[in-house]
Structure formats: structure tokens, C-alpha cells
């Protein structure tokens, strides 16, 4: 062991191990991006304790006009209930729409686009015919990771906050989808071949009407609308560039 070559080998080994350890320590304690563990970009709404089922109701309808060529894409018209200070108020307690089921067969989310009401659940089902695993994660206004699940398994998620969400699989680079989560069930999806909408059975009160576009080409429109019992308010939605 006293041979200089053996000592040299030992020194190289020790130095190599030290360099490796230094790299590990750097990796563990270097600059890290730790996102806020809540949905930082989403809009948080309060429900309050009044119930949609008990409220007197009205309707809102309208037409959409476009200042330039409209893409063949849907536009969502949705309502945010306002409080006494004309800011978003209590949205009320309602029974959310039924669960949206999303297939992952063939390496694709189906449907790949959906409009949800806050508190609505989505089930992602890995219904592949072969032993293929999938993941689901969300980016955008709501960010979360539902994990990896194998063939035949599924994941449910309740969207408790509102906003725009892009949906991806961390394993397969072409698996993408998009959701828009409205603050409450008072919304209408205006398909590409239509320019009118009607939202029925909305609890009476003051609302801010907004638009959201799946592929944005215009400034989003917003206006205040008063809904009264048994009546239908009319809105002209102008989509401008």
C-alpha cells in the first residue's frame, strides 16, 4: 500500500468522490423554483349561503358581432354575480353540472375542449387498449399534477376555482386539451356557426357579462347586466380587435 501509484489511485478516488458529493449538494441546495402550492392565477369566488334553487330567476340573451373575420372557434359568454360594491360577490350555492368524462384512448384527450362550471368534476380515464400509462397536469390559471396512472385507471378532479386551463400529459408530447372553468353555471357556449346566445334561469341580480375565446382574436367584451324576476335582459356583444 505504500507504493506511490496506489496512493495516487486512492487520492484520485477520494477527490472524485468529493467532486460527486459537491455536485449532489449543489443540486439539492441550489436555486429552486417552488411554486405557490395553491392556484395562484385562478380567480377565487365565494359561494355565500344563498341558494340558486330558492332564488327568483330571469334570463339573458343576446347577439355577437365581430369587427373582423371570425375564426371557426367557439366563444363563451359567462356571468359573474356582483356584490353591493359592484365587485364580484357571492356566486351562490348550486348543484354543479354532472361529471365530464375525458377519454385518453389513442394518446389523445377526448373531448379536447370543454367549458365547466366551478365545482364541476372531471374524470380522466386511461382507457387505452394496450398497457400504456398516462399523466395529467394543468397549466394556466389553475396549475396541478394529477399523477401518472396505468391502463384501466382513472383520476377525478374537482375544479374549485375559475379560469383557463391547458391540459397535458407529461409522458406524451402531443396530448393536449383546454378547459375554461366559469365561476358559476350561468354561461353559454356560442359555437362557430352561431352568433346568438341565451342563458336561462339565472338568479335575479346584478352581473358582469364577459366573453372568453378558445382561440383569441378579439378583445374580450364585458358589460354590466341586471337580471330581474321573470324577465329577459338583452345584450349586444361587440367583439373588436
Amino acid at each position: 500500500m505504500n507504493h506511490p501509484i496506489k496512493k495516487l489511485s486512492l487520492l484520485v478516488l477520494v477527490l472524485g468522490a468529493t467532486a460527486g458529493l459537491t455536485a449532489v449538494v449543489k443540486a439539492q441546495f441550489g436555486v429552486r423554483h417552488l411554486p405557490d402550492p395553491r392556484y395562484v392565477n385562478s380567480v377565487e369566488y365565494n359561494d355565500g349561503d344563498w341558494k340558486w334553487a330558492d332564488a327568483s330567476k330571469g334570463n339573458v340573451k343576446g347577439t355577437l358581432s365581430f369587427s373582423a373575420r371570425r375564426p371557426a372557434q367557439p366563444v363563451v359568454v359567462y356571468l359573474v354575480r356582483l356584490g353591493a360594491d359592484d365587485k364580484p360577490g357571492e356566486q351562490g350555492v348550486y348543484a354543479p353540472p354532472g361529471m365530464l368524462k375525458v377519454s385518453q384512448k389513442g394518446g389523445a384527450f377526448e373531448p379536447s375542449f370543454g367549458v365547466l362550471a366551478r365545482k364541476q368534476k372531471v374524470e380522466f380515464l386511461n382507457d387505452e387498449e394496450k398497457e400504456i400509462s398516462h399523466n395529467v397536469y394543468f397549466l394556466g390559471d389553475i396549475e396541478a399534477d394529477l399523477g401518472i396512472f396505468d391502463q384501466g385507471q382513472s383520476r377525478e378532479h374537482e375544479f374549485t376555482e375559475a379560469g383557463e386551463v391547458s391540459v397535458h400529459c407529461s409522458i406524451h408530447k402531443r396530448m393536449d386539451a383546454r378547459f375554461f372553468v366559469a365561476p358559476n353555471p350561468a354561461f353559454a357556449v356560442v359555437e362557430a356557426d352561431s352568433a346568438s346566445f341565451e342563458i336561462s334561469d339565472v338568479p335575479a341580480g346584478k352581473y358582469r357579462l364577459h366573453t372568453w375565446q378558445k382561440q383569441k382574436r378579439f378583445q374580450d367584451f364585458e358589460t354590466t347586466v341586471e337580471i330581474t324576476n321573470g324577465n329577459t335582459a338583452t345584450v349586444a356583444v361587440e367583439m373588436k380587435r
Binding site: P4, L8, L11, V12, L15, G16, A19, T22, A23, G30, V31, R32, H33, L34, P35, P37, R38, Y39, A68, R69, P71, A72, Q73, G106, G107, A108, K130, E131, I132, S133, N135, Y137, F138, L139, E143, A144, D145, L146, G147, I148, R155, E156, H157, H168, S170, I171, H172, K173, R174, M175, D176, Q215, K216, R217, F218, Q219, R241
Partner: protein, 254 residues
């Protein structure tokens, strides 16, 4: 110095050199009273992501094993070679001189756009920036983009033609195509910030920065953005490691 001590010294120097080569790229040191920011991009695989299962394929003469995930729909994410990562550095005490754009051409063929993200720069004193779109499809396409600061563009590009798109507002544009709603490219336009676009196996190096506080934003396609505020001091280089991963997202329901 004894021969043994000389050997030990040489080995130590060699080890330090090797360690240095492996972790720190060679960039010029800061000059004068300015500093630097070096952003190392670290694309991490998703924790727990399984490899594709292999199945037996029988030919007339042999049996081989192939992935059961066949076709474009099952193309796998490769975090080791993320393309088109955009890094933007803003802030400081003086207006920054924009760097030249690294990618100004977008190609469209039957597989879609060739880039997930692009970057163009409105140069100091300029009113707009531009990029070209090469339509390699056999049909004309309408391409449009929009951003919140009242910036928009749209136009028709004939089959096989090259179109130039001008943008006058800084910001993020989502670029779409009317004829194919699966197409999407994100265009970043900067007008006063340092910016860089490249692959995640490279570093984003920003030199000659006046001392001050800067915000570094890293936008990898299809992954969460990464941000960090850093104080740049004269004569020093700040080295940051941006983790490009979904691993840090809040875990729900696992």
C-alpha cells in the same frame, strides 16, 4: 518540492480542471463596472414516468421486441432536449439594448408548425419587428395572432409562399391558423429586455448588464414558467439553474 508532492499537486490540479470543465462553461469574465447573468437550463424527466412497454413482433424469420406505443400520437416527451426555450431578462437601472433575435422564421407543413415558440425583438428606436412564415402546405392558410396590449395581426399566405408578419407591440402572442385548429405557436416580442431562445442543452448568457435588480423569466414550451429575481453587481456573474419540469407542480389526488 519532492517528486511525490509534485505528482499530488498535478493530480489535484487535474481534478479541479476536470470538475470545472464539467460544470462551468467558458464565458468571458465581466468587463468594467457591469455584471452578468448565466441561466443554466435543467430539463428534468417527470418523476415516476415509466418507459414504454415492449411487445414481441414476429416476422417470418425472427422475433424482435418493439415499443407498444406506435404512431405520432404516442411521441414521447424528451426533457433532455427541449426546443425553443425562451429566456427574458428585464429590469436594471438603465434600459437594456436588445439582443438580435435568434429565430425569425416559422415553417408550416403537413406536420404543423416547426416551432412551439418564437422570439422576435423590436430594436431600440424601431417601431416593429417581423418574422417570416413559410407555408409549405398545398393550400393557402390564414394565420392570426393576438395579445392583450392591443397587438394583433392576420393574413393569408398562399401555398408554397413566404409571408412576412410585422408586430408592433411587445408581449406574448398566440399564433393560430384558421384552417387547422390544432396549430399553435407562441410568439414572444420584446422591446426593452434582453432575450434568448434556444434548446435546453445550452445556457442563456447575458453579458454587460448594469448593476441592479433583474427579473429572469424562463418559458419552456408546454411546461411551467420559471422566474427568479436576481441582484447583479459590478464585476460578478450570477449563475442560476432553471428547472424545466412538471415535478414542482402541486400534486392533487395522487
Amino acid at each position: 518540492m519532492t517528486p511525490r508532492a509534485a505528482i499530488y499537486g498535478a493530480v489535484v490540479a487535474l481534478c479541479v480542471l476536470i470538475a470545472g470543465c464539467g460544470s462551468t462553461p467558458h464565458y468571458p469574465p465581466p468587463q468594467g463596472g457591469n455584471g452578468q447573468i448565466l441561466v443554466q437550463l435543467n430539463g428534468e424527466p417527470k418523476q415516476g414516468a415509466p418507459k414504454a412497454k415492449m411487445g414481441e413482433v414476429r416476422d417470418d424469420y425472427n422475433i424482435r421486441r418493439e415499443s407498444i406505443e406506435q404512431g405520432k400520437a404516442f411521441e414521447r416527451v424528451d426533457y433532455d432536449a427541449l426546443e425553443d426555450v425562451v429566456v427574458i431578462v428585464s429590469g436594471g437601472t438603465t434600459s437594456l439594448v436588445s439582443a438580435p433575435p435568434a429565430a425569425t422564421e416559422l415553417e408550416l407543413d403537413d406536420d404543423g408548425f416547426n416551432r412551439a415558440q418564437m422570439l422576435v425583438v423590436i430594436r431600440a428606436g424601431g417601431k416593429s419587428a417581423s418574422f417570416t412564415l413559410h407555408n409549405q402546405r398545398k393550400q393557402a392558410v390564414h394565420v392570426y395572432g393576438f395579445n392583450e396590449r392591443d397587438g394583433s395581426f392576420e393574413g393569408e399566405i398562399s401555398a408554397g409562399a413566404l409571408g412576412t408578419v410585422n408586430v408592433s407591440q411587445a408581449g406574448r402572442y398566440d399564433v393560430y391558423c384558421e384552417e387547422d385548429d390544432s396549430l399553435h405557436c407562441v410568439l414572444f416580442v420584446t422591446d426593452g429586455d434582453r432575450a434568448w431562445i434556444g434548446n435546453s442543452d445550452a445556457d442563456a448568457f447575458f453579458d454587460d448588464l448594469p448593476a441592479g435588480e433583474y427579473e429572469v423569466r424562463v418559458y419552456p414550451p408546454r411546461l411551467p414558467a420559471w422566474t427568479k429575481t436576481v441582484e447583479v453587481t459590478a464585476g460578478k456573474r450570477e449563475t442560476l439553474t432553471a428547472e424545466l419540469t412538471v415535478n414542482n407542480l402541486p400534486k392533487v389526488g395522487e
